[in-house]
Symmetry: D2
Subunit: 283 residues, 4 copies
């Protein structure tokens, strides 16, 4: 088989889980390429296994049936993915293009293993940028009055394209509960501050007013409460008193790009697991 | 003269200030060793000059009278210090010793140019640590009932020892307005988070709950509002989901030490100027 | 006047230079927007002044004649630039596009104040990428046999387009002495290691073999000796034992982009001065 | 049992190793608290397991006999340690005290789980510093003539005290091959540059001459070739043209302290495995 299998698991912790899982793999002649494990507060067990496809005794379509009894016995939440089937990712943007362009460039350079069947925006501005990469651009304008129906339409569009991974690359609309619920594995957002500082609008202006010496960006999963979802990655840049709000915006763009790209990279490699309001990231 | 002179200035911005200041120095045969300048929002002018004592035509005791007319004409706030007269610094601590020890070690290694006539604490625990450096330790226990009078006594003690620079190295008491007012140039505090996130008590526990991927520390000047004073320096450390609250405390100590030491270093070299609720730091 | 004037100076240090310079500006009713100064080892004086055009008493074409006597008396090397006249920049590339694209994106976003009349490459591959930004792309293939004449042609091309600033964005040819001599202010190169480690070819492979835990990139001016010119900026990324050579290349691209963009930004704002084999960077 | 067991393993990679190891633990009712695994270039397998002592069916003195057959079959290099038996660590120093003091402070604060039966120095200067922590200080002066015999004596001294872990905290002597051979698990050294740049003496002076914008420190295992051993950890600090050699030394001390302390921390928790000339660090 020309693919590898990734298996991510979380379940209540108990003795013998690693043994049970690795023995299951060994029993079917599987070779574990990488194994990461974590126990949260002694209570919940998390594991990510990458199993070589070559020589593995379970066909792709046999795996689920073979694994299900073990998973059920231990109460496991589990998912598989196959490295020969790229995830299907869509990016939502508004007018700022820096995060979008960075993702598209990395994707084009082979850094991000995904198909990108479409980019969706509530503004028409970035169409040429997206189409230059051969990716269809959908313009779905949103007003207060049309928000609910437009989100429903967007959901349908994403569903038609069988999108697995949704990334908000500075999408300047707050998503409604139905949209969020449709992606239980998590919609990735980039916020332009080191959360929990400067939740909400205009963080660079507020950072300047407060006179901070560090600005940052945070990639997190979207929840109904604004900027309060599980944090995936954060990074910062040092700034001095000389930096104007415009300088903070410029320097911040660099941090935002880097932080969001890293989070997307991990997501596409199934390295992010949810632990309540926190994330487990097997880097 | 075996000393250099440091002159720090802030005043309303206008044309010709650098010229007026540097010409004043040149007129008295002074050599400017370093000059830093900044204009805040086009409105307020800040400058720091270091003038070589050797060859300078103004004696120490003549400077003020010679400079005052110029300063008055431009509405300058100004201060001088002389590099042969170390500042007199006192450190206030409670029970955590990491920031204190780091400052004392750096001071002993010659990194911090100050006299330290005394360390004051509301707990007796750290006396041996301080006395090992040959520095007197004063124990001033504080209870709710005695707080006001104890602060008054502490102020008197610092005043007797002619203290210029007060540093709170994890001093776990909130200082009253009279104490704060007695040091208008600013009392330096270290807070164990990247402000404005996690103001107040227990920031590491709250950071862990929020699932942050970055922890930090902030050195700032004390104001009556808790953890809201002008920020001098901030730095961070990356953490993963594996870090327990105890790990955050341990990793955070390293950041706190580094951030506070840097702020104290700058303060002793007269590199920090106040710009309303922000600081200008001429690194 | 709708422009500001930048004046950069270096000369032997002596008393009164700041006074002489700022008085010259004041005499002509100039307003100094920013002033940076540095004395290298007590011997050489460096200064950068930004003077507001509005209200300044010297017309653009009068400045040189007015300033020359002062400059001559103090033995100053000096240059001026005007903020309403963008520098003319050309980028040389081969096949790797990450540094190029990053510069073009930043330029397009208004981060880099320059005209880019052409991009030159020894390979045809990146033509579409460059032309998408509306910038002409020149393909000048280079072989061992044709190198000297091709460099002469490139020089002529750059000269025709009145290029001030030459940037090598992973240009994989070693430039000859005539080319280097034609740009005495310095040709900016990005090297994919933290110099002086891993001079020359294949630094990521060698970094992997050495088992380093940090990789880096260095922006420097080109000299005849390979990777030995004055360093402008450096940054690093942490890596673990898990990183393959390919991972280092991927992570390194991010550092290279950031470091080169920063150096170009400083160059375009006249913030880099040469101090022998070192640079003075007034950030 | 009031202790946990740490088991570190390396062996040729093959299918089923994780299963074999975790099944061995499970068979004896062991609970795996943490598991880290890595395969180097598809050829060599590394694993670190932390097993809860409570409930584990193998007594401490039974473990080796029970595990040996499995280890032999797979050609494993393996080691165990028990968390109730602190490692025995000795620190070698010369005259610089910053790394030493930092380790002692962290040890005293409970960050480093070790016994420190003695500190050894070729100079008498730091005796009071060490003895203040209640640790015996041995002065073993070294001259060219006495080097071999002094090293032999030092080895005997360390052997008498049953030292497991040797740390060179800026010990300014090159150790001979017999000394190095006596600690096959590795002697930790701190070098004050980001290796492989500035191998050997005076790295800060040479860094200043080269005009670098970043300085660093490297913790590595000692080999006979100077500063060429496997790298454990590296970090850097940014510097500007304003930094003198003395400033680099001062700023570098901070990086050295941090990097060495981190390496020692990992060593004491059995997180560092050797992979030829590289290290595997299970952070």
């Amino acid at each position: 088989m020309g693919y590898n299998l990734r298996l991510t698991i979380s379940c209540p912790d108990k003795r013998g889980l690693i043994s049970a899982l690795s023995s299951f793999v060994a029993m079917h002649d599987g070779n574990i390429l990488s194994a990461d494990q974590y126990v949260s507060d002694g209570e919940r067990f998390f594991m990510r296994l990458e199993i070589e496809g070559k020589g593995f005794g379970l066909e792709r379509e046999e795996f689920d049936a073979a694994f299900a009894p073990l998973a059920r016995r231990h109460g496991m939440d589990w998912r598989t993915s196959h490295t020969d089937i790229p995830k299907r990712m869509s990016i939502l943007v508004s007018r700022y293009d820096h995060c979008l362009i960075d993702i598209l460039w990395r994707w084009d350079a082979g850094e991000l293993d995904a198909d990108i069947p479409l980019v969706v925006s509530n503004h028409p501005d970035l169409a040429p940028r997206v189409e230059a990469y051969g990716i269809p651009f959908h313009h779905l304008p949103v007003t207060k009055a049309t928000k609910v129906e437009q989100e429903a339409e967007m959901l349908e569009l994403l569903s038609e394209h069988e999108i697995d991974v949704v990334v908000l690359a500075r999408y300047m609309q707050i998503l409604g509960p139905d949209f969020i619920a449709a992606y239980p594995e998590g919609i990735i957002n980039i916020h332009h501050s080191f959360l929990p500082a400067f939740v909400g609008a205009d963080p660079y202006r507020r950072a300047h007013e407060r006179g901070v010496k560090t600005i940052g960006a945070t990639a997190h999963y979207v929840t109904e409460e604004l900027d309060a979802g599980p944090i995936i990655h954060q990074d910062v840049a040092h700034v001095t008193h000389r930096a104007t709000v415009e300088d903070l915006v410029r320097l911040g763009r660099e941090v935002e790009r880097r932080v969001l790209a890293r989070a997307v990279h991990w997501r596409l490699e199934d390295r992010i697991l949810l632990d309540g309001t926190r994330t487990v990231v097997f880097e």
